[in-house]
Amino acid sequence: MLLKKLSEAYGVSGDEGNVRSLLRTELQDYAEELTTDSIGNLYVKKGLGKKPRVMLAAHMDEVGLMVVGFEKSGLLRVTAVGGLDHRVLVSKPVVVGNNHVPGVIGAKAIHLQKPQERKKPLEIDNLYIDLGVQSQEEAEKLVKIGDYVAFRSSVNEIGENCLLGKAFDDRAGCAVLAEVMKADFDLELTGVFTVQEEVGLRGAGVAAFNVHPEAALVFEATSAADVAGTKEAGHVTQIGQGPAITIMDSSFITPQYMIDLAVKTAEKLGIPYQFRRLTTAGTDAGQISQTHEGIPSLVISIPCRYIHSPATLINLDDYQNTIRLAKGILKAIEEGGLPCEGTA
């Protein structure tokens, strides 16, 4: 399963090579042109010369850590790459560097803690990666400063049609994009697998400049907070309720005609959908929409519980419905052209 392979691959922001080569292999038989750029984005082109030109994007990178120093004992000091909740880090297995050296993030045993210590979260400054070595010299033989650190977890099907694993943000989006690129449309399509989204949407702007599309669709994974102890008003999205359409976040406001395109398509095809009910955080659309003289964009997300942790949860119906909706939208563009201000 492509999604499983993508999720289990290691690719912290700035180190997306493993994911890129997986996708290159997956799509080389479908692409008319397959290229990369200097920052690491992967471009998959189909229907060259057709009209209109549409860009589809999903980011390859995941949140993780980076090695910033050694203790004499051989423990590694780390810093966060991307927005991590430091409270989920402790007591997790990780892999370090290009050779995927295994390690664990340890914590002082409960027996040795003072009661007031237990009330404070373990900050990243107080966390270490333990490779099982006895000294800095031994550690330096295995890893180096600047090595990327990724969570180590495998994908499993759990509960009712759900997947549990890491990095569905945004490998689920990558899988959606890959599946869409396998279908044929009477459009010039450029699927871009972007880099460095998690550290500030760094890859997408470059890609949008290079592709210069007339419109863009971004496939994402977004927070689902439909869990015990959270009021419905704070759910943002709910798993199993269909793809989520973004209206506004910190980086981007969706043009109404793009929202209408998504909603009408979903309703016509009987695909469940929901709006993403939060106005903060950002996606690649924030950069894409501000490139050149402005590119109308749309963000469709798979709801994801426990996002940015080693064990995130998505619903497979949501995943399939996101693929259906994406294809439906491209079909609608193929048939009715791109919507613009005033069309609705």
């Binding site: 997790k92 333990d130 031994e138 759990i158 996002i307 940015h308």
Partner: protein, 351 residues
């Protein structure tokens, strides 16, 4: 992977929360029975491997390592099928957020421990550790099915495979004290080629984590002359003074202090020196949190000793130790056992 590593991996990955040790007990029995003359279980669930000595007047030695692990128990099924839970044994709640778990319900369910998501959390809350009360287990099933499958009281463990790290180190859950059980196996293997006068009762005990209960009934039933517990001790780690820890890979910790019979402590040290087995002295000014605590005051008082494997991150799911220490501990115990005769036992009464 050698046979000890394979055995340790197998038993660490198995479930066996305090009071519910049966699954791991089966594996331990299968892995160790060939090295014992007789295997039996007592009423509380202790698994006793008996190996007969060669002497005419044979002292009885109890070797105890606990096979139970810390875990959780389901306490409530919430609306929408989320599960609340309570710890079994001492757990730092900060180490369990985002962990994958296995729930032993009517069928085994795979879930994840969640807590209030960060974006709906205030900055103030983010500077506070997650508390157990705000956590839940998500099995991604509708409430109706959860209610059919899960009962209050069902047992939960963290899902974690043993990971091989640098050198001979390994990491996983329940190394405390399945590593001690592996030490018993090494000891029995060594004893197969050593002459020993004493009868040996190697016991995988139950319910240590909730109050050293298995060791209590095992000692009562076996009536040993000497009891040595095998457990884990804190390895060196940042934020903990060096004198409170043992170094990984530098051999077993041998404990001295009021919980330990002075002559037994000295004898373990003497044996380590005689056979060139590296060891580290560990001081315990109070009763230890190990089976030795129960052994010492069972029946009319049993001389107790304690051999420990250095281990980092105790009671988390990434407990880390060096297999070399497991092997050295097993050898130390075997040579210790081989040196015990009735004269030694008689010398243990305080004059």
């Amino acid at each position: 992977m050698d046979s000890i590593e394979r055995f340790l991996k197998e038993i660490c990955e198995a479930p066996g929360v305090s009071g519910y040790e049966q699954p791991v007990a089966q594996l331990i029995k299968a892995g160790m029975r060939d090295y014992a003359d007789e295997v039996r279980e007592d009423r509380l669930g202790n698994l006793i491997f008996f190996k007969k000595g060669t002497g005419e007047n044979r002292p009885r030695i109890l070797l105890a390592a606990h096979m139970d692990e810390i875990g959780f128990m389901i306490t409530k099924i919430e609306e929408n099928g989320f599960l609340r839970f309570a710890p079994v044994g001492g757990i730092d709640p900060r180490t369990i957020v985002g962990q994958e778990v296995l729930i032993y319900a009517k069928e085994r369910l795979h879930g994840v421990i969640g807590a209030k998501p960060p974006h709906v959390t205030s900055d103030e809350e983010r500077n506070k550790a997650y508390e157990l009360e705000e956590m839940f287990i998500d099995v991604a099933l509708p409430e109706e099915r959860v209610r059919k499958l899960v009962s209050v009281g069902d047992i939960v463990i963290i899902k974690r495979e043993v990971i091989k790290l640098a050198g001979s180190t390994v990491s996983g859950k329940a190394m405390d004290d399945r590593a001690g059980v592996a030490v018993l196996l090494v000891c029995l293997q060594e004893l197969a080629r050593l002459q020993h006068c004493a009868d040996v009762y190697a016991v995988a005990t139950v319910q240590e984590e909730v109050g050293v209960r298995g060791a209590t009934t095992a000692t009562y039933g076996i009536v040993p002359d000497i009891g040595v517990a095998v457990d884990v001790t804190h390895g060196d780690m940042p934020g903990v003074p060096e004198h409170e820890t043992c170094r990984l890979g530098k051999g077993p910790g041998i404990t001295i202090g009021p919980n330990i019979h002075p002559t037994l402590g000295e004898e373990l040290i003497r044996v380590a020196k005689e056979y060139n087995i590296p060891y580290q002295l560990e001081t315990a000014a109070r009763p230890t949190g190990t089976d030795a605590r129960a052994i010492q005051v069972s029946r009319g008082g049993i001389p107790a000793g304690l051999v420990s494997i250095p281990l980092r991150y105790m009671h988390t799911s990434v407990e880390l130790l060096d297999l070399a220490d497991v092997k050295m501990s097993g050898r130390l115990l075997a040579y210790f056992v081989a040196a015990v005769d009735m004269a030694f036992v008689e010398g243990l009464s305080c004059c």
